[in-house]
């Protein structure tokens, strides 16, 4: 098991290098140079000053060399500083990360808690009324532009009913509340972003749970259990669900890139003070160091999530573990 974990962990490094290299190259394809973004049309910054600036930040060197230097700094977690406000990129990201993690982790839990039961019930009662309704729901869920759903939520719960706040996380007045009321306010602010974030993956995961339960139901050991005369509720919980959860765990890991991608849209729509919005704003401002930082951290989080789901998978399935130790 230890070797398996170590092997998986080591795999993260080449992936991170590959992905960051793609992003680095993409940014250097972009027209316009850093000096003119930072100093714009400022006539006081002369051509030679700009050349010096380029030299100081190694911007005059070839892309590959620059990438090497960037990786070297990355090892000490130094992403440089923002071109817009000179703040350290790492500090900017760490101040935004908790909000994103809060939103993502809660969404992930909700997706899991709702999608798995839906999938199991649909599979066990195949072609029932419930299954048909859920199939329709899944098709609509797949086809709904998630940002549009976010707008509808704002329109309906924010404006028509006026039940929930539509933007931000902790407004100024929360400083004057006690911790109970502050939590209540935070939850109210979380509802709409969480629903919007969870919705798309909900359809995918419930569909996936359904098909993996159906697959397990056709296995011989389930037939044996039935032949032994076990009650069907026991068969479902002890035999089917346990085995079906295996593949569901993996797909949870694989749904992370979609969740992170979504955070760039939803955090912008709901003015959520997280990393996704930071990334969007950085892209809009051509703030290269921040863009790279957000990109790398987002990728890293995704890879860690996939790593964790791999480990969980190996933990519950001895076959993988043994295979990995060979």
């Amino acid at each position: 098991m230890k070797r398996y974990i170590a092997k998986r962990l080591l795999l993260i490094i080449p992936m991170l290098i590959g992905i960051s290299f793609i992003m680095f190259t993409v940014m250097h394809l972009a027209p316009g140079d850093t000096a003119s973004i930072k100093y714009g049309m400022n006539p006081e910054v002369s051509g030679s000053a700009r050349a010096n600036f380029d030299k100081m930040y190694d911007l005059d060197k070839p892309v590959l060399v620059q990438y090497g230097l960037w990786v070297k700094r990355l090892i000490s977690l130094d992403f440089g500083s923002s071109l817009i406000d000179d703040q350290a990129v790492m500090a900017k990201i760490t101040s935004r990360l908790p909000a994103t993690l809060l939103l993502q982790i809660i969404s992930l839990f909700i997706i899991f808690l709702i999608a798995v039961p839906i999938g199991v019930i649909s599979a066990v009662k195949r072609n029932s009324f419930f299954d048909r309704i859920m199939t329709i729901f899944v098709f609509i869920g797949y086809a709904t532009p998630s940002f549009w759903l976010a707008l509808l939520l704002i329109l309906f719960f924010g404006f028509k009913l006026g039940w929930l706040p539509i933007s931000g996380m902790s407004p100024w007045y929360t400083a004057y509340l006690d911790s109970f009321d502050r939590t209540k306010d935070l939850i109210a602010h979380l509802v709409l972003p969480v629903v919007a974030t969870a919705f798309g993956s909900l359809a995918a995961l419930s569909r996936y749970s359904r098909s993996s339960v159906i697959e397990v139901m056709n296995e011989n050991y389930v037939l044996t259990a039935r032949a032994k005369g076990l009650s069907s509720s026991r068969i479902v919980t002890a035999h089917i669900l346990k085995n079906a959860l295996l593949s569901i765990i993996t797909i949870m890991g694989l749904s992370l890139p979609a969740l992170i991608s979504g955070s760039f849209i939803f955090e912008t729509i709901f003015a959520w003070p997280g990393m996704g919005r930071l990334g969007y704003e950085a892209i809009m401002n051509y703030d290269y160091p921040v863009v790279m930082g957000v990109g790398v951290i987002a990728t890293f989080l995704t890879l860690i999530g996939i790593f964790l789901s791999d480990i969980a998978y190996a933990f519950v399935d001895p076959r993988i573990r043994v295979g990995g130790e060979k």
Binding site: P14, M15, G18, I19, I22, M23, V26, M27, L29, A30, P31, F139, I140, Y142, A143, T144, P145, S146, F147, W148, L151, L152, I154, L155, F159, I214, L254, P257, I260, S261, G262, F264, I265, T268, I269, G279, Y280, I283, M284, Y286, V291, V294, G295, A298, T299, T302, L303, I306
Partner: protein, 271 residues
């Protein structure tokens, strides 16, 4: 005939037809503004089916013309990703060895990438335009098709007809594209149909964020941008373009699922 396929095809046909015949379907010029007080943000009525926007333009007409953008992005992006996916998946599955490992590593990277972020980056830095959107979506969405084609090739390349072609001295290129590929296309059609819906969704999100189609032209996503600004008053600006995206993507997905059922006999039995 499969019900899902028929439903999908009918809707897609109607959408495509009205996009092609936009000048005859739309009653107003989609770019014509009317800034007088009573023409702006008008509620849906018999004159303006889906109301008017903040600049007094007819939303229905803008959506009919917008369908041209959204549909062509869907088709062209998928065309690009099909080309890349089939080519890379084909040589990967056929040759195996180091070619296969290199391509599969790239595929894994594409799978773990928050692709939307990459797309946003590339488009901002290359300059937002609808052509860039098509290309970038195409270039970032081939991984799934590549895997699919590779898997098919892995099993097909051992078959007798491939061996026979090899013995006859047929070139590798010809074996890949003339002998194996036609047999591997079934799952590819399914995946391509589903990808059109996916590409339309990505385009609408990009246009919504201002990274797709540029003003004054409109796609469904960019009408929603204005919808967000006037959301507390003009619900029609938000409701109708979103519904159009939903119905179109739904039709492509239904058609794809229907195709899957028709092409995969195992699924039919299970039902």
């Amino acid at each position: 005939m499969n019900k899902r396929i028929i439903f999908g095809i009918v809707i897609i046909f109607v959408m495509t037809l009205s996009a092609v015949l936009a000048p005859f379907v739309a009653r107003y010029d989609p770019l014509k503004m009317d800034l007088s007080e009573d023409a702006r943000l008008e509620k849906p009525s018999r004159e303006h089916f889906f109301g008017t926007d903040n600049l007094g333009r007819d939303v229905f007409s803008r959506m009919v013309y917008g369908a041209r953008i959204s549909l062509s992005v869907g088709f062209i992006a998928v065309f690009i990703s099909l080309g890349m996916g089939i080519f890379l998946g084909g040589i990967s599955g056929y040759y195996g060895g180091w070619i296969d490992s290199v391509i599969m590593r790239i595929v894994e990277i594409m799978y773990c990438f928050p692709t939307f972020f990459l797309i946003m980056m590339v488009i901002t830095f290359l300059g937002p335009s609808i052509v860039n959107v098509m290309i970038v979506i195409g270039l970032t969405s081939w991984a799934g098709i590549c895997r699919l084609v590779r898997a098919e090739f892995l099993s097909l390349r051992e078959r007798d007809f491939v061996q026979a072609a090899k013995v006859q001295g047929v070139s590798n290129f010809r074996i890949i594209f003339r002998h194996i590929l036609p047999n591997a296309m079934g799952p590819v059609y399914v995946s391509a149909t589903l990808s059109v819906g996916g590409a339309i969704l990505v385009e609408s999100a990009l246009s919504f964020l201002g990274l797709g189609i540029q003003i004054p032209e409109a796609s469904w996503g960019s009408i929603l941008t204005a919808g967000k600004v006037y959301i507390d008053y003009a619900w029609w600006l938000t409701l109708f373009p979103g519904l159009a995206i939903l119905i179109t993507v739904l039709s492509f997905n239904l058609m794809g699922e229907g195709l899957r059922e028709v092409l995969d006999p195992k699924l039919r039995e299970r039902k």
